[in-house]
């Protein structure tokens, strides 16, 4: 897949950017001119939920991207709004609602319906200026879009863990609730310890119950009243309609009779019936509302008296309510332990299943080690297979982390391309960030030149890079001028 062009319109100003098939450099001499914004616009045009930059609100812009997909050819994506995107393929237009139909859209662009793969493409091909160069195998690619190596591997190897993942999510939710409940229980214990008299008094509870019962009655009566009104209106409309028709009927003895509302069996009676019912129900409603306001007034007086006696702070009211909730800290803590154990077991099972496909893992590992070796950050002896899944990033820093991330990314891209059978663009925001010297940059460029010559490469930077032919997109003062 490659980006051919992107047209951005903000208010009256607009600009079109054209991209070449090979290397593209989005360049400005100074910082903060809009390079990152342009990259983000490109991702935004693919339907991703991308945070706006400080100067331009994406939602206020009209973005039209021309892309070429290996599977279906040219495609035009028009995003004028956050919530939907219009896609034109071979003069056929279709609208996708975002984010609900994002997967559907991406399955066309990338040619796969595998959600585990689709979810992780952006994290593989795009390195954000900030988070991108520290994202190794798990974490945020940009905004709320995440990357997860296990998920990607499961997608690439066709390993189905959906049931396990569902139960993992379910357990996590439950656990979260129990943990909160536990802290409430602890809080309750502490307030009970402070004072034994915090139980809610009967009067408050009873009058609250009375109020809610009356409210239920009030709702039922109101809805019945509404129903009657509607029926009454409909019947009256029919009565009117019949009168307008001016029909006549002939009886067997030859006399003719006009058809009126009065001689339609049941019509006038039903209207009288409904009027009477309406009156009875409104009077019931009135009485319920009267009782309700009586109790509320009483409650109010009570509160005022209490307030005069001792004003109850919000905290005290809360404490009373909490004290009235029957929860058992010990039972909750037992349940939490049980859930944690189950969750751990499920996570282990998922992880085992993910790593069981040695084909994808091995190939990922080999490519990663190859690039890492070339970049000088390790070799097959110093890097174990399990390093792919490491969660220890602290031991890496600066240029080493930067280069390791780069090696991982390229390995992901190779693997995804192998799976999808298409070429993906590589989008790098400020690859020279951090303290990376020219020699290291050159090593990275060399790999791109050699192994990724068929990929579209888009780099945003204030530096120049040594590629054979570069399409330079220069931004002077502002992205859209």
């Amino acid at each position: 897949m490659i980006f051919c062009s992107i047209h951005i319109k903000e208010g009256m100003a607009e600009r079109t950017f054209n991209f070449s098939k090979g290397v593209n450099l989005i360049f400005s001499k100074e910082n903060s001119k809009g390079k990152t914004t342009l990259l983000r616009f490109m991702l935004y045009s693919l339907g991703y939920s991308i945070p706006s930059t400080r100067k331009i609100k994406f939602d206020h812009c009209e973005v039209v991207a021309q892309i070429y997909c290996d599977g279906i050819g040219d495609m035009r994506l028009s995003r004028f709004h956050n919530d939907f995107i219009e896609v034109m393929v071979k003069s056929e237009k279709k609208t996708y609602i975002l984010p609900d139909q994002l997967h559907e859209l991406h399955s066309i662009i990338f040619g796969t319906e595998n959600q585990n793969v689709l979810n992780n493409i952006l994290g593989a091909i795009y390195a954000d200026q900030e988070k991108g160069w520290t994202l190794l195998n798990r974490g945020t690619a940009i905004g709320s879009i995440r990357f997860n190596i296990e998920e990607l591997i499961r997608g690439l190897s066709g390993c189905d863990c959906n049931d396990l993942i569902c139960s993992e999510k379910q357990l996590e939710r439950e656990l979260g609730k129990y943990r909160q409940l536990f802290s409430v229980a602890k809080y309750r214990e502490s307030i009970m310890a402070e004072s034994g008299t915090l139980a809610a008094d009967n009067y408050t509870v009873e009058s609250a119950v009375a109020v809610s019962q009356l409210l239920i009655q009030q709702n039922a009566l109101q809805s019945e009243l509404k129903r009657i009104d509607k029926t009454l209106t409909d019947n009256k409309r029919i009565r009117h309609y019949v009168a307008e028709m001016k029909l006549m009927i002939q009886l067997p003895d030859g006399t003719t009779v006009p058809v009126t509302a009065e001689n339609i069996v049941g019509l006038s009676d039903t209207i009288d019936f409904l009027v009477a019912k309406r009156k009875m129900i409104s009077s019931d409603l009135r009485s319920v509302m009267h009782q309700l306001s009586g109790i509320q007034k009483e409650q109010h007086t009570e509160e005022e008296q209490l307030a005069f006696f001792k004003s109850e702070s919000l905290l005290e009211v809360f404490d009373k309510k909490i004290a009235a909730v029957p929860i058992d800290a010990i039972a909750i803590s037992k349940e939490i332990k049980r859930l944690e154990k189950t969750l751990k077991a499920i996570r282990k099972e998922i992880s085992d299943k993910t790593k069981s496909d040695t084909g994808v893992t091995k190939s990922l590992y080999e490519n990663m080690v190859k690039f890492a070796t070339e970049l000088g950050v390790g070799n097959s002896e110093s890097i174990a297979t399990s390093y792919l899944f490491t969660s220890n990033l602290k031991e890496l820093s600066g240029a080493v982390l930067h280069k390791t991330v780069f090696a991982f990314r390229l390995a992901y891209i190779i693997e995804i391309e192998k799976h999808l059978g298409i070429k993906l663009p590589i989008i790098l925001d400020s690859p020279s960030g951090k303290e990376v010297d020219q020699a290291n940059i050159q090593l990275m460029v060399n790999i791109l030149k050699r192994d990724f010559s068929d990929n579209q490469i888009i780099i945003a930077s204030i530096f120049q890079y040594d590629f054979n032919s570069v399409n330079i997109i220069e931004i002077n003062n502002r992205l859209i001028e």
């Binding site: 129903r227 029926t231 019947n235 069996v265 039903t270 019936f273 409904l274 009477a276």
Partner: protein
Amino acid sequence: MRDRRAHSVLFGFDFQVNAAIVLMLENIKELSSLRLEGNEEDIELTLEGNRKILVQAKSVENASSDFSNVRANLKKALMTLSEGAQKVDAKQLIFITNSPNPFNDQYSRSIFWGPTRRPFSTLPSSAQEIVIGYLSTIAVPLDPQKFIVQVFPFETDDETERYKAVMQATNDFIGSLNANTSPGLGKKLLQVWHNNIFINGSKKDATIHLNKKNIIWPIIVLETDISRCEESFTEQFDAGVYDEVVHLYGKTIDSCCERVDFFARVLYDYNQFSCSKKPMDKCLEFVNCSWEDYKSEFAVPGIDNETLEALTKTVLYNVVRRRIIINKIKQGVNL
């Protein structure tokens, strides 16, 4: 401390309302409208042909022991009725009270025990003399032959005791309708009349004006409530099925009975359905023979066959039943 004056005003008004109910029920066939003048203790019944019955309602709080004011009440009532009789041509002029001794007279006392209605001509002579005596002080007195003294018990703060005579009158009236009504209707109806019909919405004007429709339709609404249903119909279902259907689909059933576009079709089919039985039995037979023609209307996803059958039959039954009850009651009260 309770405001005694306010309390006795409320008592007086309550008596006036209940007196109006008693008189209305006595005249229901001919009645066309009813008017209560709160401040004057007047009740005016208008009968067909615009004939009037004028009433003065005077109550005594401790009616069975306190007779100190009864003669003053009588005198005042005779004056007001005489004035009224000049303005309209009244058929009857009634003095209605809750005192069992309305003349404070030991000779006539025994005849006013329990609900009593005595035209002037049937009063004991001692009582007649008292009336004549008062009338002689009035410039244009009423015609004694139109004068009636009516008494019904109405005492204490206990509702059952206070309303026992009105309750009895209401039950007798419902019985006379012959509409096969269900037990407990009288109490409910009296409650509706007290709470919904005979109340005055406006605070400035103490007048209540009701026509026959206002008074009668609540009976029909109560009696056709879908939760009241003959056993002859419900016994065909398993125990509780009918109640459950009414509970779950009450709104649907009501709507079908009340929407002309639906009930007109059912009534047409019912009319075409030939059966020589009595209306309620014909209704049962009609429902059993025709329910399958209507079941598609209620066949929503997720409804089981038993419920579908019960729901369809319940709707049809109630449409026809409502029609029959409305006709019976309207005939019974000449509405």
